[in-house]
């Protein structure tokens, strides 16, 4: 996968309009796991929405494999786990995954024959270890989070955007999620995980994207073995803010 961010300026509206990023450029080639970190309200979610093609930058351009994010999304190669997602409680886990899968089928992006395999595969990748026949209304927050994660991986995406995926998970599930993210990178998926908690995501990622004072900076942390290593690579002003 080739993700190119060129001179992008992003605005967010939080009561009043403010600029989140100013003329930022980045390039990602090949499958990577990237941690997108920054303080609350710096524009992480907005940036992910722009990468997903749900919003446009104020200026600059973003291309994924040579096409705009919205075109890329239409190819059903994108997965997005939004931060706020309430699943339809009347459905069973299987019905929900099936309906998400059918959204791709209707658009002609998935063959019906491949759909069932795709659901089973996504359930495993998402860590769904409970019966899919259970109604969503009876699932715990952690189970719902894993079901949502599975839904975002229907079918296995080329680019997976996870917005605060660890919220609602216990420590064991968080560790499992990190293991699954690493597996996805090995399978060829580029994963971008947003979090305001650098300690939670930096050990999973090979690259760190920091949003601070309207700048987006990439730091290679693939060789870091501990949080102390990662922190030592950060400029002082960022260390203080994180």
């Amino acid at each position: 996968m080739d993700l190119l961010v060129r001179d992008v300026t992003v605005g967010i509206r939080d009561g009043r309009f403010q600029r989140a990023l100013f003329q930022c450029s980045l390039r990602v080639e090949g499958p990577r796991t990237i941690a997108l970190v920054g303080e609350n309200g710096v524009g992480k979610t907005t940036f992910l929405r722009i990468l997903a093609g749900f919003a446009a930058p104020l200026d600059g351009s973003i291309t994924i494999n040579g096409v705009t994010p919205s075109k890329f999304r239409e190819g059903n190669a994108l997965g997005l786990l939004p931060e706020r997602l309430s699943l339809p409680e009347s459905l069973s886990g299987y019905d929900f995954l099936r309906k998400v899968s059918l959204a791709g089928v209707v658009n002609g992006r998935v063959s019906p024959a491949a759909m069932e395999d795709s659901i089973a595969d996504a359930a495993v990748r998402g860590g769904v270890d409970f019966p899919l026949t259970k109604r969503i209304a009876t699932l715990s927050n952690g189970m719902r989070q894993r079901l949502s994660l599975a839904a975002s991986m229907l079918p296995l995406p080329v680019l997976l955007l996870l917005d605060e995926p660890e919220s609602g998970l216990d420590p064991v599930q968080r560790a499992n999620l990190r293991t699954r993210i690493k597996t996805m990178e090995k399978d060829g998926t580029t994963v971008i995980v947003s979090s305001h908690d650098i300690s939670g995501v930096c050990l999973t990622a090979s690259e760190l994207w920091l949003i601070h004072r309207e700048r987006l900076t990439s730091i290679d942390i693939s060789q870091c073995e501990s949080l102390t290593d990662v922190m030592s690579r950060l400029p002082n002003e960022w260390r203080a803010s994180l």
Binding site: R49, R73, S86, D95, V100, A103, N107, R109, P112
Partner: protein, 243 residues
């Protein structure tokens, strides 16, 4: 890959989903139709007719509202619309397809109700064939129109779309009855946008409040088209706002 097969698969899942979402409502409607047969079988023809009337009248309204409720607005409120959009679904087409699936489900339920009430015509002989025809036209037309109103309200992102639809039906019916005797082009045009109580009376063979300028068929067609067009227009705005 056959796109027809994909769409059929999707449609079937959605139709079954409508039935699974409202099992109690459907249970009550189908049971009431069976009870009417029971009363007819023991010679209580008046009660059987009364129940059959209520199944058609109440059933059409409730079926139209319950089947279409939350079709878009639930997805917008919960954020699930993100899941459809990220899988490459074009949202207007996607929701229009859902709308058609749910209309089909309504049609099938209406056919089921009519089939259950058909013994009242033969062998029980409590109703005439024309009565069953009136029930059929009422069920199809009113349930269809009410469901398009709910769809449009839901597409506009109204969280309580069914309450909004009921409020519109009640208020515009009262207004329609108030302006029923007013003559003039502008009143005729206004009546086109109100819940067509006169046309419903005409469909059920009860006679309207006045002589209508437009035929009931035209009024229903116009209203369904207008509500669907409004829903499609609002879909573009509401989905963009929530994504």
């Amino acid at each position: 890959m056959s796109s027809w097969r994909s769409v059929s698969l999707f449609g079937l899942a959605e139709i079954v989903g409508v039935w699974r979402r409202s099992p109690r409502l459907l249970g009550v409607l189908f049971s009431a139709a069976l009870v009417a047969n029971g009363f007819a079988a023991v010679g209580r023809a008046e009660i059987a007719r009364e129940i059959a009337d209520q199944v058609a009248v109440v059933g059409a309204l409730v079926l139209g509202i319950a089947s279409m409720s939350g079709i878009v607005s639930d997805d917008l409120q919960t954020g699930v619309v993100n899941m459809w959009a990220q899988k490459g679904a074009r949202l207007r087409q996607f929701y229009l397809l859902l709308f058609l699936c749910r209309m089909t489900a309504i049609l099938l339920v209406a056919c089921g109700l009519l089939a259950l009430m058909s013994p009242l015509v033969w062998p029980l002989g409590v109703l005439e064939v024309s009565n069953l025809g009136t029930y059929a036209s009422y069920l199809f037309v009113v349930a269809g129109l009410v469901s398009t109103i709910v769809f449009a309200m839901s597409a506009a992102g109204l969280p309580r779309d069914s309450i909004g639809a009921v409020a519109y039906i009640v208020v515009s019916t009262l207004l329609a009855m108030r302006v029923a005797t007013y003559d003039g082009v502008r009143w005729e045009v206004l009546r086109l946008f109100l819940f067509p109580i006169d046309s419903i009376f005409a469909v059920t063979g009860n006679g309207g409040l006045r002589d209508e300028a437009f035929s009931p068929a035209f009024v229903f067609f116009f209203q369904c088209s207008a509500w669907i067009a409004f829903g499609v227009f609002m879909l573009k705005r509401s989905t963009r706002q929530y994504l």
